[in-house]
Every structure is written in C-alpha cells, then in structure tokens.
C-alpha cells in the first residue's frame, strides 16, 4: 500500500504544478489567492497520505495546522489587501 500512497501523493503534487498556470494567468488577485488555497488543500492531503505511509502521527499535526491556519492568510487578504470599498480613495483596478 505504501507505493500506492506515494503514487497518489505524486499525482496530487502534479496537480499543484498544473495549478501554477492559473497563478500566472490571473486575472484577478482572488484567482491568485485561490491557487494558494489549492496548494494548501493538496499539501494537506499529501500530508495525510504521507503520515500513513511513514506511520507518523506528527505529520497529521502538520496537516491539521495547515488546514486550520489557511484561513489566516485569506482573512489578511480580504481585510488588508482587498478592503471593503467604502472610501473615496478606492482604486478601481482589480488586477493583482
């Protein structure tokens, strides 16, 4: 089974590499942020597979931490980088 787990992890990481295309294309900042979300989930899933393959509960902790804390980056993005447009100095440009 260990080979299967590693093989599936390899497929998952390959989808991450494919997701980079969206990162380079954009067009909005939200699209680019979504690519890091894709990275996050895929890495979490790969961690689950690796933790079973290597028999280490500590890798499950890595997965749990990555999953919970992914919200911090998104929250910082919507709070600071894309704040609510209620001020006069609003920039119309949505390009990231």
């Amino acid at each position: 089974m260990k080979e299967v787990y590693l093989g599936i992890s390899a497929i998952l990481l390959a989808t991450v590499a494919a997701g980079l295309w969206r990162f380079f294309r954009g067009p909005t900042a939200a699209d680019r942020l979504m690519v890091t979300q894709l990275f996050g989930t895929t890495v979490v899933t790969a961690c689950l597979l690796l933790s079973v393959a290597l028999r280490s509960t500590a890798i499950l902790d890595v997965a749990l931490a990555l999953a919970l804390l992914s919200v911090v980056t998104t929250a910082a993005f919507v709070r600071f980088y894309w704040p609510q447009p209620n001020r006069s100095t609003e920039r119309k440009n949505s390009d990231g």
Binding site: M1, V4, Y5, I8, I11, L12, T15, V16, A18, G19, W21, R22, T28, A30, D31, L33, M34, V35, Q37, L38, T41, T42, V44, T45, L48, L49, V52, T57, L60, A63, L64, A67, L68, S70, V71, T74, A75, F77, V78, W82, Q84, P85, S94
Partner: protein, 101 residues
C-alpha cells in the same frame, strides 16, 4: 479486499483533485473556479480520508483522520465564503454565456 476498496477510493479522490484543478484552469470566472476548488477540498479529501480510515489499524488514527477532515471542511468553507464575498464587493463581474466573444 480492503486494499482494493482503498485503492478504488483513492482513485476517486485523485479524479476529484484532477477535476478541481482542471476546473480552476478552465472555468470562466472567479466564482466558478471557487466552486471547482472547494469540490477538490471537500470531496477529494473525503475520499482520501475514507480510504485511509479503512486501512487504519487503530481507533486513534481513524479519529484523527476524520477530525482533520472536519476542520478542513470548516476552513475551506470559510475561505471560499471570504473570497467570494470580497470578489462581490469588488464588483468582479459574473460570467454570462451570451457576453462571451
């Protein structure tokens, strides 16, 4: 037997992850892409967790895996909501088939 079920579930999971990524690459606007992304999160990872739970040799592992999945779903729902709300506030237009050139 259990091994084959796990392998089948893992293949489903890989299908959903690949599908989510293809959706992220091909769908026309932010909201559709967000939809594709969260499918990969929730269903793809759900299948992986199921496959690993079948293989788990103790309750401890099974509970840990299922708990991780629960938190991933809570976090990814929050993420998707935040991004979608921010995009709506930024007035990023919805995709309309007729407008496509």
């Amino acid at each position: 037997m259990a091994d084959w079920i796990s392998i089948l579930l893992l293949l489903f999971a890989a299908f959903f992850f690949v599908g989510g990524t293809v959706g992220l690459l091909r769908f026309p606007d932010v909201y559709c892409r967000l939809h594709a992304l969260t499918k990969a999160d929730n269903i793809g990872m759900g299948f992986v967790v199921l496959a690993l739970v079948i293989q788990a040799d103790s309750w401890y592992w099974a509970v840990r895996l299922l708990a991780t999945w629960t938190f991933v779903m809570a976090a990814s729902a929050t993420n998707a909501y935040l991004i979608a709300r921010a995009a709506i506030r930024k007035e990023i237009p919805l995709w309309k088939p007729s407008k496509r050139e």
